[in-house]
Symmetry: C4
């Protein structure tokens, strides 16, 4: 809307393409960006495979420069066309956009900083910006609402888990000890986490009868308390998905929601018409 007055300028047009998904050009831009991001991630991954690096290392480095250049141009255009450049630069995505470009330039001057290139994987996060494209976002919203609502309970749960693995890990360190691979308390706690979460790598296993008995206890604990986060999230999600209310309008004040068996509007006291289809309202209420 602010862009109206200068809607003919190049800058405004770039702004529309880059920041607004509703126009065909904006959509095309977002889709291209998604493709380039994913391609650049693929290049980073392929380059980490020894045989591929040996055979196509130079090609991949070349491609990487193409992507970096594209991202750099995109970044400059974003800064240029943004209505409040400073806000963009220091926003979450603004920072990620810089981090997606910088490593390549730094590695140019300090060849030893090759490892820095890994940071490019952070480009992955840019994918989420493009996601405004899809209708899935409203679904993600339900999940986020439920996650936010369960946050406190999840923290309490994680605190309980932390205590459990500390105590179990220390006990295993005492019982099994260094000869059986439980060389220190932190390592034994690591084992307790591996076991409680039912991952069970098998790189450390109890060998004494007492250790195996305690391990059984850890496993059954882990198996049973998975119910806790699941229960929390399920209950919260069911809440988030509950339809907001019943629709029966008051003839006088037009308040739209009333209890199923209400005979009078509870805002203005006017008589309500009988519920037309008690069954249906009951249906939606029982959610």
């Amino acid at each position: 809307m602010d862009a109206e007055p200068r809607s003919n300028s190049v800058r405004a047009r770039i702004n529309t393409i880059i920041f607004h998904v509703s126009t065909p050009a904006g959509r095309a831009f977002d889709i291209s960006l998604l493709v380039v991001i994913l391609a650049s991630l693929l290049v980073v991954m392929l380059d980490s495979i020894d045989t591929v690096h040996a055979a196509y290392g130079d090609w991949l480095a070349g491609l990487e420069w193409v992507f970096t250049t594209l991202f750099a141009i995109e970044y400059l255009l974003r800064v240029y066309s943004s209505e409040r450049p400073k806000d963009y630069v220091f926003s979450f995505y603004g920072l990620i956009d810089v981090i997606a470009i910088l490593p390549a330039f730094i590695a140019l001057f300090y060849p030893d900083a090759q490892y820095l290139l890994i940071v490019r994987v952070i480009r992955m996060l840019r994918v989420f910006r493009v996601l405004k494209l899809v209708p899935y976002l409203s679904q993600a919203n339900f999940l986020l609402v439920a996650l936010r609502a369960s946050r406190q309970k999840i923290v309490v749960f994680l605190l309980g888990i932390t205590t459990l693995v500390t105590v179990y890990g220390t006990l295993m360190y005492v019982i099994e000890g260094p000869p059986n691979g439980f060389t220190s308390i932190p390592k034994s706690i690591y084992w307790a986490i591996v076991t409680l979460t039912t991952v069970g790598f098998g790189d450390m296993v109890p060998k004494t009868a007492l250790g195996q008995t305690l391990a059984s206890l850890v496993m059954i604990t882990g198996y049973a308390i998975i119910a806790v986060p699941t229960g929390i999230f399920t209950a919260e999600l069911a809440n988030a998905m509950r339809p907001e209310a019943l629709h029966r309008e008051c003839p006088r004040c037009e308040k739209g929601q009333h209890e199923q068996n209400a005979s009078y509007c509870n805002r203005c006291g006017a008589a309500l018409f009988p519920a037309p289809d008690t069954g249906a309202s009951k249906h939606s209420e029982s959610r």
Copy 2:
């Protein structure tokens, strides 16, 4: 019903046997087909065991030809008796029926294509056609409705998982690196999937303290977020299973919903007609 006018012809009778399960002959046909499909699957599996192949390879090959012949005859009869042969041939099951037969014939002419025989396992899918026999299908329906309703949320969840394992995998590659078995980013992502899903093969395990700390984080993440698909599906299934509401209208006040065994309208007191099919409604309600 369309088959009425030519109900005396052989073709119509075959059609009834093959396509309609309601007649005794149709039932018998479907059960025989189920047995043959399962037997042919068993033969394919047994033949893949070295010792069995060495001892009974010829027998199994013979049996396989018997099954292939039976399936070929069945296929021809289906095409012949179908009311719209073209529709059948290009339908999902029509194509699977061909794929169930072809490999054997191709392997006859190109002996090197032995491996193609594996495709026969696709016969497994044919079992599902025969399932129309059982009353379990209405139950599968509940599950499918719930799965379809949760599809979008599951996609969002899988996208989140993908991001998580990419980031975790790359971090592990940087932390542990090739000396500890994390030889490339894709392989490290594979490890992250193995760990996040709490499978934990143990073929790759972190050996540094920092790696084990990050691994602990991956495991606890995986352990906690299993709550997400479970919560989604549980909430949707609860929705899908809600009784649709019984429809029995009061002749005087037209209230549409009544308890199953109600004899009088509980709004105006008028007598209700008896419930038409109490058993069925009770059945569906108690689910």
Copy 3:
């Protein structure tokens, strides 16, 4: 009650002690039986440990004979005091009682049948008979109702799992093949089950890139579809735990349960008094 007329006879008294838990003597009998069963299980287990068998084998064998004798006496008393001995002998628990005794006697005459002694573990099941003692049974009932209600859906789910592991297993056999440990289709299906259920022993692991990609798919499938049985059971259990109905009695016919907002009894059509505490009933209904 049938026992009234001969309530002074020894037989009736034994019957009361063995079959009725409500008397102090009956309780004492059941508790002793529980202790003896658990002790005999402990003996069987300890005897299977090599070092224990070497050191205390004779003692344990002696103890075993004490338990067997006790169980034999108990069995004879049950048959003697039972009101319908034949019914008892061929009942579920009657058969288990015999199986708990027989192996010892058979092993006496055929010393080679030592392995038969394992059957004694079936005594474990006898524990459940004694459980009538505890108030937990009504809770088990909720679980059983929910399990029974979800039976059909669970069968459909298991059928889907079976298809999945067959297809995944066969694909892994084709991709990885015997050199990497996937020596036959059944063994590959075993691997697929190990992986899909997120157990992940690690005795067979994919080594090719394609195999690891497919394995990732198997793991994520397994991780996501655990939601299905959980969702089914949770929904059914919530149903089973729902209070049967509201208590508002009809003044004429005394039918005790009515819809919350009912004004007339739906059995006899008499006018109902208004719900005394709509809030409370609503509360309990919405469970």
Copy 4:
């Protein structure tokens, strides 16, 4: 309140600082205590790592004495300032406070009792006392209510699990036997627990076809019945989180429950008094 009359004395001031979190000094004390507890846990853990112990063993021992002294002073102050010292000393936290100090002193006189130092990990539990600081406690309450409500069902479930692993373990012992690592029934039961809980270490794996078939059954059982504790806890948590129902009575018809923002009774149309504390009720309702 009892402390009023002697509110100027040192003892009362210490009491306020130590036992009451509402004052700034009390908060500061609790936060410092939390930091010291966590630091002392860190020292215990670091000291268990061989390389760290070799390099900084003396420093850590020194730090440990500092912490022990602090805890000892704190304990004495607690006893001194407590209104009923005896009650405190024999309370749960009072005992833990002693156990957190004693080992160091005992190890001073009996140097062989080094291992006793492990008991210091029990200090971990002291963290929970400090948690009264945070608002998370009301959330933990929901979880505890749900856990308490599901206790009986969980016990029934664990009893079922115990029977399952005993029977499965014994069968595996018979099928696989000592040559394949299933050396005794208890060890085989341990394997059954590892497998049923989907941990799957892989230190013991079935090698015969029959053993792998039974193992598949164990795994699928474990995979499916995780639904049981999850279902139980989810259903109970949903119950615990249900808003208690708002109590606001209609002055004319005495209907006890109304919507939060209702101004008129929806049964008789009489005006209601305004809701006394809309904010709080809304808050608790939206949970």
